[in-house]
């Protein structure tokens, strides 16, 4: 009996391991993608609920009053608790209003784009990846490669869309490269993530003028992002005589750990420059 149980478990283990490897190999292909989309469809409403219910965790001073012993104290505690709840709700409304006002200001500053506001409902469960999940999806008109902004500048890019949710790759992820320009000196370079929450400016020629405090905006080069979106501020510059390029540490004005609301530009079409960048093949003689 025990031997049979072990064999059964062994078979199950091998089978599930094979399925896991198969899913990984299939990657973004139809089967695995459909499974992921189905799971997302089921879990997104739950995630929205959890995100809403746990919002007070992110707000300081929102804890309730402790349980009282005496009746009168209990009544007063209940009253305090109720008032605290009211204050928390009002603070929440105020912070939401402020956030929306900031986003509206940003939208008015760039009237050529159409925006869709989305709430951040989750973060990547992997500590190596810098993604957030937002509560807007294909049914709201979202498509992959749409740029994402917050009130203080560029957040990232939409990479994956389901019917009701989307994954946004943050600019702090090392895999996302943003072409930027230094506002003061008009020098161009590449911005990419260099660890959780930090950014690095690279590929800036050694003789170019670069200093702490310089503001960076997107250059629009490469066609992936619209130009002139705020990307960050240089905090320190590293320049070595034997290097070809200089590099700089950059601080984004966005607090990526507490991102709540974002704006997605829905009418920006990224340019496909790949055919223009291909190396020409010489014609046969």
């Amino acid at each position: 009996m025990r031997r049979f149980s072990f064999l059964g478990r062994f078979s199950l283990g091998v089978l599930l391991l094979a399925v896991a490897v198969l899913l990984l190999a299939l990657g973004q292909r139809a089967g695995a993608d459909a499974l992921r989309a189905a799971l997302t469809r089921v879990l997104t409403p739950l995630q929205q609920l959890v995100a809403q219910q746990t919002r007070p965790l992110r707000q300081p001073g929102s804890s309730g009053a402790p349980a009282p012993v005496l009746t009168q104290v209990a009544e007063l505690q209940a009253r305090v608790s109720s008032l605290q709840g009211e204050v928390t709700r009002l603070r929440e409304s105020e912070s939401q209003r402020l956030l929306l006002a900031q986003l509206l200001k940003l939208a008015r500053a760039n009237p050529e784009y159409r925006y869709l506001a989305a709430q951040v409902i989750g973060r990547d469960v992997s500590p190596y990846l810098q993604y957030v999940l937002v509560d807007r999806g294909r049914s709201d008109g979202l498509l992959p490669d749409m740029p994402v902004l917050a009130a203080d500048g560029l957040v990232g890019i939409v990479t994956e869309v389901t019917a009701s949710a989307a994954k946004v790759l943050l600019i702090t992820d090392p895999t996302l490269v943003v072409n930027v320009r230094v506002q003061r000196s008009r020098v161009e370079g590449q911005l990419r993530g260099s660890g959780p929450g930090s950014l690095r400016l690279d590929f800036v020629p050694l003789q170019a003028e670069l200093a702490a405090g310089d503001q960076l905006v997107t250059s629009g080069v490469g066609g992936k992002f619209p130009p002139n979106l705020q990307a960050g501020t240089i905090t320190s510059v590293r320049r070595r005589d034997y290097d070809v390029f200089q590099e700089a540490d950059v601080q984004s004005a966005i607090n990526f750990a507490n991102l709540e609301l974002v704006l997605i530009i829905t009418n920006f079409t990224p340019l496909d420059l790949a055919p223009l960048l291909a190396t020409p093949v010489p014609a046969p003689p």
Partner: protein, 167 residues
């Protein structure tokens, strides 16, 4: 309560907490691998096929909330759970330190497999930052969590285990 029902209730909750709540707690760099701790504790406490099903379901849930390659977390979680499950609960119970050592090895193995898949799939990883900024804190935090999770898992596993009768 059967292990299946327990898993249906517990695993989605763990995935939701890991995605929506834990990143917002103070010290965001200290993010425990909640799903790994739960699934590993169950497999350390109970060498049964349900532990493998938990690992599979847990991995799928994690991959749903991740922007990484689909199946990467599933593979990492499943391999670690498979190893814990096949070493067997009786061996883990020999010494109270063994489950903790198993957790340290499991967390390192989980992160190594996951990071390896990411690199194979073209992700850029700074190994030194990953080792010191992610794996080391995860080992400490997950092992500390295991101090609570393993005894709890053992207690639940004992309460649902059928009495063994030999003829």
């Amino acid at each position: 309560m059967t292990p299946l029902l327990l898993g249906i209730g517990l695993l989605p909750l763990a995935a939701l907490l890991q995605s929506s709540v834990l990143p917002h707690l103070p010290f965001p760099a200290l993010r425990p691998d909640l799903m790994l701790v739960i699934v590993l504790a169950w497999n350390l406490a109970r060498s049964h096929s349900d532990g493998l099903l938990w690992a599979f379901a847990g991995g799928l849930l994690l991959d749903t909330f991740s922007g990484g390659p689909f199946g990467a977390m599933l593979l990492a979680l499943f391999v670690v759970s498979l190893a814990a499950n096949f070493i067997g609960a009786p061996l883990w119970n020999v010494n109270p330190l063994l489950p903790l050592l198993g957790t340290v090895a499991g967390v390192v193995m989980y992160h190594a497999i996951y990071a390896g898949v990411l690199v194979l799939w073209g992700w850029h990883l700074d190994w030194r930052t990953a080792a010191t900024g992610v794996v080391l804190p995860a080992v400490l935090l997950d092992t500390a969590l295991m101090l609570l999770a393993y005894p709890l898992a053992r207690r639940i596993a004992r309460s649902i285990a059928l009495p063994q009768v030999s003829l």
